[in-house]
């Protein structure tokens, strides 16, 4: 019996077709990209300066993971914790749930990495891969939540304050943030995911297409419809609270 506190290792980490060129051929796994990939589009980044910075970070993470899995994991975590946590926070709308989702996503990532060979790690695009894991966990949590009775008003309050943040900072940041974070909850799941990944997590559209496993055109229309809807919600709810 394997002693772990939850599910067996390697069960639910999705494989994503994020490799470049030849690596894409040896990506196994039942959870690999369902459609044909946008993998080719992602290689080389989306062009421009941010893409190059992302590539440098990506190379550092992959190099560290190739050396030692545990040291590499620490680099992976430090590089992408902000992206993963921000995404989890703005998707779920709740601090505690975001912590659960982000912790679980990183843990599953580690467990998947334990079973990956050097080739597979070399072909990894870690940010898209991590966010794909997170997105699957979030969709699962939505499904589970739909089967539970609706939460009470207290639990339902979006974005409770960060317990580690001073109250004044929270107040200042939430001046605009709280309202906007609340509005995000009013978007359909697909639009919310696309808007959060594009404008909160700041991913290029090509990478969002990989994470959400959708064509780029669909991603763009989710984003623009999401933004349009946010504007409408903003106006109908009468501006700032």
């Amino acid at each position: 019996m394997t002693v772990t506190d939850e599910a067996l290792p390697h069960t639910a980490a999705p494989g994503t077709g994020t490799g470049t060129g030849s690596d894409a051929a040896d990506l196994p796994g039942p959870h690999a990209l369902r459609g044909s990939g946008q993998a080719g589009d992602a290689s080389g980044g989306a062009g421009g300066a941010p893409g190059e910075a992302d590539d440098t970070a990506r190379d550092e993470v992959v190099t560290a993971l190739t050396g030692d899995l545990d040291t590499g994991f620490a680099v992976l975590y430090d590089t992408y914790r902000g992206a993963v946590f921000s995404t989890a926070l703005r998707l779920s709308g709740r601090w505690a749930e975001a912590e659960d989702l982000a912790a679980e996503a990183f843990l599953r990532a580690y467990r998947a990495l334990c079973g990956y060979g050097p080739d597979r790690i070399a072909g990894l695009r870690p940010r898209a891969w991590l966010l794909t894991i997170l997105m699957n966990l979030w969709r699962n949590s939505l499904r589970t939540a739909a089967r539970r009775p609706p939460p009470g008003p207290l639990e339902d309050a979006p974005d409770p304050p960060d317990p580690a943040e001073p109250v004044e900072d929270t107040a200042a940041r939430h001046e605009t943030g709280r309202e906007l974070a609340g509005l995000l909850a009013g978007l359909p799941a697909a639009q919310r995911a696309a808007v959060v990944l594009r404008h909160v997590t700041d991913l290029p559209v090509a990478e969002i297409a990989i994470v959400l496993d959708l064509p780029e055109g669909t991603v763009k229309s989710h984003i623009s419809r999401g933004l349009a809807r946010l504007r409408t919600l903003h106006h109908t709810q009468g501006g700032t609270p």
């Binding site: 002693v3 421009g48 975590y77 902000g82 946590f85 912590e99 334990c114 580690a164 763009k220 623009s224």
Partner: protein, 266 residues
């Protein structure tokens, strides 16, 4: 890629910086809270203790794993195989660990026993109650864990003890007087027990005569030979017994501290 997009700032970075909505969304990014990594990764540290080369892994739930005589690579590999969790170096041992290893008392030190089966956890809880300087047979642990016939399974569960020394599985010994197996080997077990002043020679001498228990003819109470109460019985009043049935037949009752058990017929 037909753009039906009415908003001009959805695709390229660098565009739409003047839009208050997208600026507001960008402001919703948040760094991960400081404690998040500790929910994911365990920490490892070298500690001094009664055995050489002790390494300990701990999580935010407590001490999860303790092993002796391994190098860092072997320890990390063993931890990964068992817990599938990242393991990073720690600056210092968690508070309370070093005193707990020195005194054998846990105090407020917490143990992370997630992932053990119910039976394994019950066995370890039972073993944890054996006082320093005393031993109990496997059958006693089986009874305390609620499965009196699962004596062999107790041996396996103790062999999988993730935190030896902290849960003193070395104090569980064979009823024939031998010390029995141990995670770190029988020799280490004997060394640990002698360091706790267990009189293994007396236990072996009694067992050699087929005697498992010692009673006092002044109190009429019968104990395991290493029980604190048994060790106070002066030699003229010590009465050895083969088992609890024999002691009961002689009018003795079992000690309420060490609770000697009647061996179950296998």
């Amino acid at each position: 890629m037909t753009r039906t997009d009415p908003v001009p700032d959805t695709s390229g970075p660098g565009l739409g910086s003047g839009d208050p909505l997208t600026a507001g969304l960008a402001g919703l990014a948040a760094d991960a809270p400081a404690g998040l990594l500790d929910r994911i990764a365990a920490r490892r540290v070298h500690v001094p203790g009664p055995l050489d080369d002790l390494q300990v892994a701990f999580t935010d739930h407590g001490i999860a794993y303790l092993r002796a005589g391994m190098d860092e690579q072997a320890f990390t590999t063993a931890f990964r195989a068992r817990f599938a969790r990242p393991l990073l170096p720690a600056d210092r041992p968690p508070s309370g660990l070093v005193p707990a290893l020195r005194t054998g008392r846990l105090g407020r030190l917490r143990l992370d026993l997630r992932g053990l089966s119910e039976f394994e956890a019950a066995v370890l809880r039972a073993a944890a109650t054996i006082p320093r300087g005393q031993t109990r047979p496997y059958a006693w642990v089986a009874r305390q864990a609620g499965r009196p016939k699962a004596v062999r399974a107790v041996g396996s569960a103790l062999g999988r003890n993730p935190v030896p020394l902290l849960i003193p599985c070395h104090r569980v010994t064979r009823s024939d007087g031998a010390v029995g197996d141990y995670v770190f080997g029988g020799d280490a077990k004997e060394r640990l027990l002698r360091a706790e002043n267990v009189d293994l020679d007396e236990v072996a001498a009694l067992a050699g005569r087929g005697m498992q228990l010692v009673g006092s003819d002044t109190t009429g109470i019968v104990c395991y030979p290493t029980c604190g109460d048994a060790r106070r019985i002066t030699p003229p009043h010590r009465r050895p017994f083969r088992n609890l049935a024999a002691a009961r037949a002689a009018g003795y009752r079992p000690c309420l501290h060490c609770r000697p058990a009647q061996p179950e017929p296998a």
